[in-house]
Amino acid sequence: MSAPVIEFKNFSLGRDIGTSWEPLVTDMTLQLQPGEILGLVGESGSGKSLSALSCLGLLPAKVRPLGGQLNILGRDSSTFGDEEWREVRGAQVSMIFQDPMTSLDPCFTVGSQIVEAIRAHEDTSAKEAQGRALEMLRLVGITDPEQRFGAFPHELSGGLRQRAMIAAALVMKPTVLVADEPTTALDVTTQAAIIEQVVQLQQQLGMTVLWISHDLGVVANLADRVAVMYAGELVEVADTKRLFADPQHPYTMGLINSARVRSAGEPFDFISGSVPEPSTWPEGCRFAPRCSRPTSVCQEHPAMTQPDSGGSLRCFHPGMAVVS
């Protein structure tokens, strides 16, 4: 296997709460292999977005890495200064966000924002950059790029805005695309079109994609592998097929059951309780309070293991079916 493009090694993140650091992501070990689409799944507060933002050095104020290592294209990111991060962002690692209305600047045309992305990294003439921006707009499936080039973000529909943002993110042909819930705010018919577009571009450009979503259906249809996060840590990583056919972690099982459609009139599945805040994470297994079958050993904190079935798992009782 070739070297991973992004590698988290026992990585952890925390927030400054004055007297101490409150952990938000802990013991994260995950490798993003070149050319793959890795789905990162979790509910609110699981730490999936913060993990993604660390790949671009875009962590919010007061949040910073506490330990472990994060390697980006083979380089230790802790050594990066502002200058190095600027080189990484957009050119090597690009990101698309949930809401293109807030990530595109409302005061500039979408075309000029794509041109800006090119000229921030390369010494190109405005004319040439404009040509490449137009080509990119066409590539992301915008039918009349010349007209859309001069449009302001508010003049475009949600789907077109998201396509324009994808164009800006991909115009430098980055090695890695980090996509943080890029279709969550869109209608399902638009979502289907955008996903198809990203997969097509991924193959065309040979990109690696980290796709973050809370929607298991999206990830099931898109990702080669899936990593599941709960309360700041990875709990299961597996090939997509295996994960959905034979989930090992009770949280993964519960999440899949919660999202699955049952016959008419049947009750809905759910996981009892709610996602804990970082300040109330249990000492032992963080999922134990919501797990249907915890045992005394679950008062210890489980480490990530590599079971024979492949992937990795953080559970003392793998594969125990959740009896409903």
Binding site: G217, N221, F244, D246, S258, A264, G265, F268, F270, V275
Partner: protein, 256 residues
């Protein structure tokens, strides 16, 4: 079964840019029978929420009529309008913005009771209301921000049920909740519907949820109803081209 919610040729226009008119709801007619869970599905801009807002007397219709339990809220007298809100109540999508952050949960759920006009039924207590939705009585003293999203949606249901409504409008009631929590709220809605004999107008973009809990469904697109029927049959064998496209776009989890 008799219809309790009647919508006839409902039209709603909004002013668009430079004197143009945008028709949000275009000649929509349907009825909902008593004790039915009726789903309205559609994407953003399809007009599904506007229909609900006209029924809730929050948006004035441009044309057509609506009535709930025989009262047309847009031509009713002041007194009848008050009674109207004891007939129909709502649970909104966002449990964060639909509650006053400075009011305690006890005050939130009982605020509507002050305007109650029907005196033949006993006034429910806060404890009874919270119990009905599975929240501990101690939550009366809490503020909305102290509750999880799921608990807040339970409190929103308690607030709606305080008025003793016959019809409950649920506008995307679980869209803002984490996936693992949605089932709790949906099961609560379903059991309350049976227990209290409620009629539910369930507005959603989630076809799976509608298929599992609704008796009938209307599919809306560009302000019109394009298809109505049994949800399972409608989604398994859609006859309208838009419904076909919608069903095909839903990302599905592989069946194990």
């Amino acid at each position: 079964m008799s219809p309790i919610v009647v919508v006839e040729n409902l039209t709603k226009d909004y002013a668009g840019p430079s004197k143009s008119v945008r028709r949000a709801v275009d000649d929509v007619s349907f009825h909902v029978n008593e004790r039915e869970i009726f789903g309205i599905v559609g994407e953003s801009g399809s007009g599904k929420t506007t229909v609900a807002r006209v029924l809730l007397r929050l948006t004035r219709p441009t044309g057509g009529h609506v009535s709930v339990a025989g009262i047309d809220p847009w031509s009713a007298s002041r007194e009848d309008r008050r009674r109207y809100h004891e007939v129909i109540q709502v649970v909104f999508q966002d449990p964060y913005s639909s509650m006053d952050p400075r009011m305690r949960i006890g005050a939130v759920v009982t605020e509507g009771l002050r305007s109650r006009r029907t005196h033949d039924r006993p006034v429910p207590t806060v404890a009874e209301l919270l119990d009905l939705v599975g929240l501990p009585a101690s939550y009366e003293r809490m503020y909305p921000h102290e509750l999880s999203g799921g608990q807040r949606q339970r409190a929103a249901i308690a607030r709606a049920l305080a008025m003793g409504p016959q019809v409950l409008v649920a506008d995307e009631p679980v869209s803002a909740l984490d996936v693992s929590m949605r089932g709790q709220v949906l099961n609560l809605l379903t059991s309350l519907q049976v227990e209290l004999g409620l009629t539910v107008l369930f507005i959603s973009h989630d076809l799976g949820i509608v298929q599992q809990m609704c008796n009938r469904v209307a599919v809306m697109h560009n302000g019109r109803i394009v298809e109505t029927g049994d949800p399972v049959k409608t989604f398994e064998n859609p006859s309208d081209p838009y419904t076909q496209r919608l069903v095909a776009s839903v990302p599905r989890i592989p069946v194990s």
